[in-house]
């Protein structure tokens, strides 16, 4: 069933994006603008966390995939 290897970075990125989207949706539908004071830092933080996790897990995956050359 699970053809692909589980990638926690996608899960975390999805959670962060969903939180941001719900915050904006509730604020805009309620008629209150989202304060820019926290909106921009939040977006930047989300992107930084996502990027770091992506780099970390992709690097590990690449390391596992690379064939090891016997050293003689």
């Amino acid at each position: 069933m699970f053809r692909h290897r589980f990638d926690p970075s996608s899960l975390v990125a999805g959670l962060l994006f969903l939180g941001l989207a719900l915050r904006y949706l509730t604020a805009a539908l309620g008629g209150d603008p989202v304060p820019f004071v926290w909106a921009t830092p939040a977006a930047l933080t989300i992107l930084a966390v996502t990027l770091l996790l992506r780099l970390a897990f992709h690097s590990r995956r690449r390391e596992r995939r690379s064939p090891r050359t016997p050293v003689r």
Binding site: R3, F6, L11, L18, Y24, A39, A56, V71
Partner: protein
């Protein structure tokens, strides 16, 4: 002066230590890298786990920001993963050996510590930098580095050698075994005969002796031992610590923890011929389906988004699509490949943040606030343009004669534009907004792509007899709201 590195001459390759051989260099590593390979390269050179360097850089970055400064210096100092010269070496046309580069990095850490201490010596942040610096010195000293000698010899070693005299390493596998991850520091620390009795510090190669005999050496001399047998000083170590490389039976330079690991010659993995090419991965439709669903959701939310102030409309549309992308990422964590979705989500997040900034009037005023109050028609007919921020064009101060036709254009790239027109004039409004609302005399037209062509007949009669004056108003907006209001003359 091998700071933090293994002092064995052979650590940099089998030819190192021989006359004319290339000294070992500090290079970034492609294997196990996270960002640029700086920490992986330091780990490979010093044979300390890369996580130690990563934690240290992170700690220094969080506390004082020195970590970023150090990382940039390390990146500039360290050679490329292919062994090529570093950025600094290219500029200076001199080549530095690895020990010098590492010493320079240590000096930079020391300078960062001094700056932090002078800035605020009582803070915990400065203390953390001092702790990291002290630990680095302790590790170097425990590995036999003469720190005083390093400091004295650094000015001379920094001069390096001409880049032209350096021969690039031949392509191929590395000549020495890579650590590739965790290194048992405790095992390294148990080496008892490395520095004092052997290697370049030993007075002469020790003669062999027969097992069972009393060792014929005086205190202070190098302990002799038989080939292939543990030396007396290393009698309490594990058997694998008796042969540096698993192939040198004379054991001139002490012990090595890699002698009997997976890289030892006797234990090297057998060569496995490459098998058939792997099957190409099946195409993942997750990204395509998610983007299609996001577009559908955005279209469904579009009617509910109309007429909301402060970019509420675009925010609803973008946030709805972003929620779908987030769900796609959830699925992608288990079932599919979702690289593009992260990029799409990042762009949407930036767009949402941009609408928050653009829709905030106080921000717009702080960044760019323009007010035009023309008093003659020539001033009114010039271009009124706002790049970022809020613009106000007040046409009530322009003297209009009966039957006069006045052409006015105003544009805002990102922000808010307000135009005030006299109620005694006939106004022909031509407005277009790519992303934003257009409000003309309390009637709102929402974007994206909002277009308004409307004629406002005069509400009051002019004081002078004759036909009313006409104002032809062209207003344009890229991202931002526009509003046209009538003011009694």
């Amino acid at each position: 002066m091998n700071e933090d590195s293994d002092p064995r001459p052979g650590a940099g390759g089998p030819e190192e230590g021989l006359p004319g051989a290339e000294p070992r260099r500090l290079t970034r590593s492609q294997e196990g890298r996270l960002i640029t390979g700086v920490c992986a390269g330091l780990a490979r050179y010093t044979r300390v786990d890369a996580i130690v360097f990563r934690v240290a850089f992170a700690l220094l970055t969080i506390t004082t920001g020195v970590g970023v400064f150090l990382y940039v210096i390390a990146f500039l100092l360290m050679g490329g993963p292919d062994g090529g010269p570093s950025r600094i070496e290219k500029v200076g046309k001199r080549i530095l050996d690895g020990d010098t580069a590492l010493a320079l990095l240590g000096a930079a850490l020391g300078a960062g510590m001094l700056m932090s201490v002078f800035h605020n010596w009582t803070s915990g942040d400065a203390l953390s930098v001092a702790v990291v610096f002290g630990l680095a010195l302790l590790v170097a000293r425990s590995r036999g580095v003469d720190l005083v000698q390093v400091a004295r010899g650094l000015p001379e070693r920094v001069k390096g050698r001409p880049l032209a005299s350096w021969t690039p390493p031949p392509p191929g596998p590395p000549a020495y075994p890579l650590s590739d991850g965790m290194v048992d520091l405790a095992r390294l620390g148990r080496r008892t005969d490395t520095y004092a009795t052997s290697g370049p510090y030993a007075p002469s190669p020790p003669p062999p002796y027969a097992p069972g005999q009393a060792p014929p050496y005086a205190p202070g001399q190098a302990p002799p031992y038989a080939p292939g047998q543990p030396s007396p000083g290393a009698s309490n170590t594990e058997p694998l610590d008796t042969d540096p490389y698993g192939q040198n039976t004379t054991d001139p330079y002490g012990t090595d923890p890699y002698a009997k690991g997976p890289y030892a010659p006797d234990n090297a993995p057998p060569y496995v011929p490459p098998g058939p090419a792997p099957e190409p991965r099946r195409r993942s439709y997750l990204t395509t389906l998610t983007l299609l669903l996001a577009a559908l959701v955005a279209a469904a939310l579009y009617p509910a988004a109309g007429g909301r102030p402060h970019f509420g409309g675009p925010q609803i549309v973008i946030a709805g699509a972003l929620a779908v992308v987030a769900c796609g990422l959830f699925l992608g964590a288990w079932f599919g490949r979702d690289r593009k979705l992260v990029l799409v989500g990042a762009i949407m997040s930036f767009a949402l943040a941009a609408t928050s900034i653009a829709g905030n009037a106080s921000v717009a005023r702080r960044t760019h606030h323009m007010t035009w109050r023309p008093v003659v028609t020539s001033q009114a007919e010039q271009s009124h343009k706002v790049i970022v921020g809020q613009g106000l064009v007040d046409l009530t101060t322009v003297p209009l004669s009966p039957g006069q036709r006045l052409q006015v254009s105003a544009e805002v790239m990102l922000g808010v534009l307000a135009v005030r027109v006299p109620s005694s004039a006939r106004v022909e409004v031509d407005g277009h907004a790519y992303l934003g609302d257009i409000t003309v005399d309390r009637q709102v037209t929402s974007g994206p792509g909002a277009r308004v062509r409307r004629v406002l007949e005069p509400e009051t009669t002019s004081r002078t007899p004759g036909p009313p004056a006409t104002i032809v108003l062209h207003i344009r907006s890229k991202v931002g709201d526009m509003e046209v209001t009538r003011v009694p003359a």
